[in-house]
C-alpha cells in the first residue's frame, strides 16, 4: 500500500504527459505536509484535538519522509496547533515530493526519462509504468463520494487531500463534482488535520487570486 504522500504525488501526476498538474507551489507543499502528518496520525504517532497536535510516539517509522516530519515535531516541543505545525512542515514540501518520487520509482510505479520542454527549462518526466495503483484509488473514492457509505479513515484523508489540490476532476465528472459538493465538504471536514490543510490551501489560493488580479 502507498503512503499518503506517495498517493497524492501520484494523483498529481498527469499520466498522459508525465507532468504534474498545476497547483500554486506553496499549496502543493501544504498538501504534502498534511499528507505526511495524516499518515503519522493514522499510524498513531501523533494525535490532535481542537487546540493542539500531540506527538505520541517519536520512534522512527522506517519511512524517510515520515521520520523527517517526526524529527521536526520533536523540535517543536509538541505544543502547537495543527495549522502552525502544518506551516512549519510545509517548508519541506518540495523535498518530500522528491523523496516520494524516489519511492515510486523504487516501487516500479513510475519510470524516469530525461526530457526537455520546448523552452529552455530542463526537467525530468515521470511517466506512469503501472497505473493500477491510480485506478484502484479512483474507484474507491468514487464509490465513497457518490454514496452515503461511512468512510474509512484513510479515504477521508485522501478525499481531503484531493479536494485541497483541486483534483476532484481526476475521480469525478464535472457534473458529479457539482452534485457532490456538500458530500465532499462533509468528508473533508472529518479529519481535524485535514481541516487545517483545507483552510491553509484556501488561504493560499485566495492570496494568489488577489495578487494576480492586482497585477492585471
Amino acid at each position: 500500500m502507498l503512503g499518503f504522500v506517495e498517493e497524492i504525488v501520484l494523483l498529481q501526476l498527469d499520466d498522459s504527459q508525465g507532468k504534474f498538474v498545476n497547483l500554486p507551489l506553496s499549496a502543493a507543499d501544504v498538501v504534502l505536509a498534511g499528507a505526511a502528518l495524516m499518515e503519522l496520525a493514522l499510524d498513531n504517532r501523533i494525535d490532535s484535538d481542537l487546540e493542539q497536535l500531540i506527538l505520541v510516539d517519536p520512534k522512527p517509522t522506517g519511512d524517510d519522509i515520515l521520520d523527517d516530519v517526526l524529527k521536526q515535531l520533536v523540535e517543536t516541543g509538541g505544543e502547537l496547533g495543527a495549522a502552525a505545525v502544518l506551516e512549519r512542515i510545509s517548508v519541506n514540501g518540495e523535498k518530500y515530493q522528491e523523496m516520494a518520487l524516489k519511492h515510486l520509482l523504487a516501487k516500479g510505479i513510475l519510470r524516469e526519462e530525461n526530457g526537455r520542454f520546448l523552452w529552455v527549462f530542463h526537467t525530468r518526466r515521470y511517466p506512469v509504468v503501472d497505473d493500477s495503483e491510480q485506478r484502484e484509488v479512483r474507484a474507491r473514492l468514487r464509490q465513497l463520494v457518490l454514496t452515503d457509505e461511512i468512510p474509512d479513515p484513510r479515504d477521508v484523508v485522501l478525499i481531503c487531500l484531493i479536494d485541497a489540490c483541486g483534483l476532484l476532476g481526476l475521480v469525478l465528472s464535472p457534473d458529479e463534482i457539482t452534485e457532490t459538493k456538500t458530500r465532499v465538504e462533509q468528508l473533508s471536514q472529518l479529519d481535524l488535520i485535514g481541516q487545517a490543510v483545507t483552510k491553509a490551501v484556501a488561504e493560499i489560493r485566495f492570496i494568489v487570486r488577489h495578487a494576480t488580479s492586482a497585477i492585471y
Partner: protein, 111 residues
C-alpha cells in the same frame, strides 16, 4: 478509558468513560471488534462519562460505524458532554452519526 457493555434486548449498550484518545484507541477498537463478532450489531453508545475525545478517538468511532453499516446494523450515540459535542460539531461527526439525548431514545433508535 473504561469500556463497559450491557444488553437492552437486542441492543448492546456500551458505556465509554474517561478519555478516548491515542492511548485508549487501540483498546477501544479491540473491545468493539470483539463485541461486533457476535451477531448483527445494534449499538447504543453512552458517551455521558466520556470527558475527552481526540482525532484518534473519532477514528475509532468511524471504523466501528463502518463495520456496523456493513453488517446492516445500527449505531446510535447519546449523552455527549459539551466539549465532546463541540468536537463532533467542528468535525462534522454530528452529521454522520445518529445522536440521541438519552438512553431510552438511543436504544429505541438502535433497534
Amino acid at each position: 478509558m473504561e469500556f463497559a457493555q450491557e444488553q437492552a434486548g437486542e441492543v448492546a449498550v456500551v458505556k465509554l468513560a474517561g478519555r478516548l484518545d491515542s492511548g485508549a484507541a487501540q483498546l477501544a477498537e479491540e473491545s468493539f471488534t470483539r463485541m461486533l463478532g457476535s451477531g448483527t450489531p445494534h449499538l447504543a453508545i453512552d458517551m455521558s462519562q466520556l470527558a475527552y475525545i481526540s482525532s484518534a478517538g473519532l477514528r475509532v468511532l468511524l471504523v466501528v460505524a463502518k463495520k456496523v453499516q456493513q453488517a446492516k446494523g445500527k449505531m446510535v450515540l447519546f449523552g455527549l458532554v459539551p466539549n465532546v459535542r463541540e468536537v463532533f460539531a467542528v468535525s462534522g461527526f454530528d452529521k454522520i452519526f445518529a445522536i440521541q439525548s438519552d438512553a431510552a431514545a438511543a436504544v429505541a433508535a438502535a433497534r
